[in-house]
């Protein structure tokens, strides 16, 4: 608090270890991967139509933007070797700008290559660009950790979003095959996203509704612990496709159809259970017995002790369990497309069926975005509801 307004608030102490290092190895690794992808692999692929096989095109197809992208990635590599004081600002800046420029370069390459070609021609993101994107993601991670304060971080994010937005609005991004595919699928894309969110949300919601009480019971009784955690652990080992099959018989016995939304939500709930039950149990079991003894000794009743001491102390782990369950369930929800539950899995499987990679990507990329967003949301929630007295101070 005393550092209010100062460029390095108290939070900066969190990443002490990376601060001391002379070289940011993570950033250096990410930048090197991104640069090599950008330079050595085909940046984009040209295809005569949606399902034809592609021809690789180097980053030079993007013109000056391509060169700029490579130069920025080289700059990121250099930034990893700068002293920490400079690195803390240079890395977020270079991560933000290179993100925007790589996207703009993709658009530029798409526009250039499709000039004078028939309307079905497509230019898709090539392996080089994918590698560059993954590398840049690693640089983001390192930049997040190294950046001195919250303001720098969000400034970098805002810069990147603005850059990507500008490239999408005024650059050649709509010419990319993924964008074209989206344009073609836009009418069912958002409903599928909505279905996906509904499925995953219901799975996590029911998982928490059932899992948290189960975890509490497990922390109170040894038998419940052994049986409960054993059963949910076995459930977790069942492959998701097999689970959907195994549900047919019991659901039929109950008179529920084995295809559609209901069995999908049941399966997702079952998968969400393990991380939630286990973390709730571990969180409650980890509460300092001295704090409980002191609480009892001061005259706190059972309910007060539970709500006032145990729950707040177990909360970080419970939230961590829900976070893990969310990421897991968003992934597994794709599979439920097989039993007609809808969701982004529909696009993925149709894309595979038609050998239309763009369609597959149109399903897969939003799933990654959803998982990352859910992860960030839960971490943000933890920052709000967990007491500063027990919060993990680690950044990133």
């Amino acid at each position: 608090m005393r550092n209010e307004g100062h460029p390095i608030p108290a939070e900066a102490t969190s990443a002490d270890r990376s601060h001391g290092a002379r070289v940011d190895r993570v950033a250096g690794f990410g930048a090197a991967v991104a640069l090599s992808g950008c330079v050595a692999l085909p940046f984009v692929e040209f295809r005569e139509n949606r399902i034809a096989s592609g021809v690789g095109e180097a980053v030079t197809a993007a013109g000056w933007l391509g060169w700029l992208a490579c130069a920025l990635l080289a700059a990121a590599l250099v930034a990893a070797f700068l002293p920490h004081a400079i690195r803390a600002r240079a890395l977020p800046a270079v991560a933000a700008v290179s993100t925007a420029v790589v996207v703009a370069a993709l658009g530029s390459a798409a526009t250039t290559l499709q000039e004078g070609q028939p309307a079905f021609a497509r230019v898709s993101i090539g392996p080089g660009a994918w590698v560059a994107i993954v590398g840049i993601a690693v640089v983001w991670f390192a930049a997040w950790r190294a950046s001195a304060d919250v303001r720098t971080r969000w400034l970098a994010v805002a810069l990147a979003v603005a850059g990507v937005g500008a490239a999408a609005l005024w650059g050649g991004v709509p010419e990319l095959s993924l964008a074209k595919e989206y344009a073609a699928q836009s009418r069912r894309f958002w409903p599928l996203v909505g279905q996906h969110l509904t499925l995953a949300g219901a799975g996590i919601g029911f998982g928490a509704l059932i899992g948290i009480p189960l975890g509490v019971v497990a922390s109170r009784s040894r038998i419940a612990r052994q049986v409960g955690i054993g059963v949910v652990a076995i459930i977790q080992t069942i492959p998701s496709m097999a689970m959907l099959g195994l549900l047919i018989a019991p659901l039929a016995a109950l008179g529920v159809r084995a295809i559609g939304t209901t069995p999908a939500i049941i399966a997702l709930t079952l998968y969400a259970l393990l991380p939630i039950v286990r973390n709730t149990f571990v969180g409650l079991a980890g509460v300092d017995p001295a704090a409980l003894d002191a609480g009892r000794g001061m005259g706190m009743g059972r309910a007060r002790l539970f709500l006032g001491v145990e729950v707040p102390l177990a909360l970080p782990l419970v939230l961590e369990g829900i976070r893990a369950a969310a990421v897991l369930v968003i992934g597994i929800a794709a599979v439920t497309a097989f039993i007609g539950a809808g969701g982004l899995g529909v696009l993925v499987f149709q894309g595979w069926g038609q050998q239309a990679d763009d369609l597959t990507l149109l399903g897969a990329v939003p799933m990654v975005v959803l998982a990352v967003a859910a992860d960030a949301l839960m971490r943000g929630l933890g920052r709000v509801v967990v007491s500063p007295g027990i919060r993990e101070e680690a950044a990133a």
Partner: protein, 388 residues
């Protein structure tokens, strides 16, 4: 007053506590002590019903503890444990406010009580109120633990090895702080410890237990001088005379007419000693910095060379230090006189080996050898170099 009558706790076939009867007078400290497994903690925890007695009667100010609900009972009894048990998710202020909140006090009353208590336990309210337990040292945490136990001003305080988990120096400070607080608040205290010195220092009475039975319940002096059994004799140990020094404080035997100067060694000569053995060097605030030995000075050595510079934290006692600790400090440092300072290092006086010897004269012969009959120079009235 706390009264235990024929209190028994049985676990299956085992008798953890066997027909204990004792009385803790209001405002006094009774220490339960004994080897591990003797039932001292069980006895303590039966008083606030964290353990329910199998049979017997426990009364607090004449009221049977079984006649009220355990929660209500415990809110009237302060409780301090070895591992402190502060709630890590709550601030120091919120921790201290636990019982007042349970009792439904008004917000302003709680806030002012918290500030008051932090000051009582020696923590600056403005600095510590909003800290979290993990930001405290072990000693600070236990001070907060004591403040929390005192929050609703309970007449009775139960302490289970409260100073057991900290280093010896911190323990000494906590014990001194406890003595000071107890002089102020005069609670009826039951304290469990396995440290005989702590029992002798803090207890008005000591209850020595063995395998669930009460061996002897007496004042520390009586326990030392008239052990009721061989077990008591052995448990207290052979160095009873030394142990008895744990009952006396430096403040009781120190002399305050010492010569001190804030001018450094410049003006010190034999005349400045005015017959005393030492001229103490202090800074402008009176904080001890060292001393000049007048005998060395008399032998012709210049004052700069006859002086000793010290850190008051290491080479001085406080008025609350027991004579036992002071003696141990003297032996460790090789001093016959020990400066006495307050908790900020300001010189208050000195305590001599001879004074300690006189305190225990007659009670034990082998310790008096330490003094070797040497007579220390008695300082005359204060010299001109004195400050304050």
């Amino acid at each position: 007053m706390i009264r235990l009558t024929e209190v028994t706790k049985r676990y299956g076939e085992t008798l953890a506590v066997d027909r204990i009867s004792l009385e803790v007078p209001t405002g006094e400290v009774s220490v339960l002590i004994g080897p591990s497994g003797c039932g001292k903690t069980t006895t303590l925890r039966m008083i606030n019903r964290l353990i329910e007695p199998t049979s017997g009667l426990i009364e607090i100010d004449g009221e049977d503890v079984m006649s009220v609900s355990p929660e209500e009972l415990r809110r009237r009894i302060g409780y301090v444990i070895q591992s402190v048990g502060l709630f890590p998710h709550l601030t120091v202020a919120e921790n201290i406010a636990t019982v007042p909140r349970l009792l439904g006090w008004k917000r302003e009353r709680i806030a002012s009580r918290v500030r008051e208590l932090l000051a009582v336990v020696g923590l600056e309210p403005a600095e510590y109120a909003e800290k979290y337990p993990r930001q405290l040292s072990g000693g600070q945490a236990q001070r907060v633990g004591v403040a929390r136990a005192l929050a609703a001003d309970p007449p009775v305080l139960l302490m289970d090895e409260p100073f057991g988990a900290v280093d010896p120096l911190t323990r000494e400070r906590l014990q001194a702080a406890f003595e000071r607080i107890q002089r102020e608040v005069r609670k009826t205290v039951v304290l469990v410890t396995h440290d005989v010195d702590e029992a002798i220092r803090l207890g008005d009475r000591i209850a020595l237990m063995r395998t669930g039975r009460l061996e002897q319940y007496d004042a520390p002096e009586a326990l030392l001088d008239h052990p009721a059994s061989k077990f008591v004799h052995d448990f207290v140990g052979a160095d009873r005379a030394l142990k008895r020094l744990g009952r006396v404080r430096v403040a009781d035997v120190m002399r305050t007419d010492v010569v001190m100067t804030a001018d450094g060694t410049r003006k010190i000569d034999v005349a400045a000693c005015s017959g005393g053995r030492f001229v103490y060097l202090v800074d402008d605030d009176g904080v001890l910095e060292g001393w000049v030995d007048c005998r060395v000075l008399a032998a012709g050595t210049p004052a700069e060379e006859a002086g000793t510079r010290v850190d008051w934290r290491e080479a001085a006692a406080t008025p609350d230090t027991t004579l036992k600790d002071a003696l141990s400090q003297m032996l460790g440092l090789g001093f016959r006189d020990l400066a006495v300072v307050d908790d900020r290092g300001r010189l208050l006086g000195e305590v001599s080996l001879r004074a300690i010897e006189q305190t225990m004269s007659g009670s034990d012969a082998h310790v008096s050898n330490l003094a070797e009959g040497e007579v220390l120079g008695a300082p005359a009235d204060t010299g001109e170099g004195e400050v304050e």
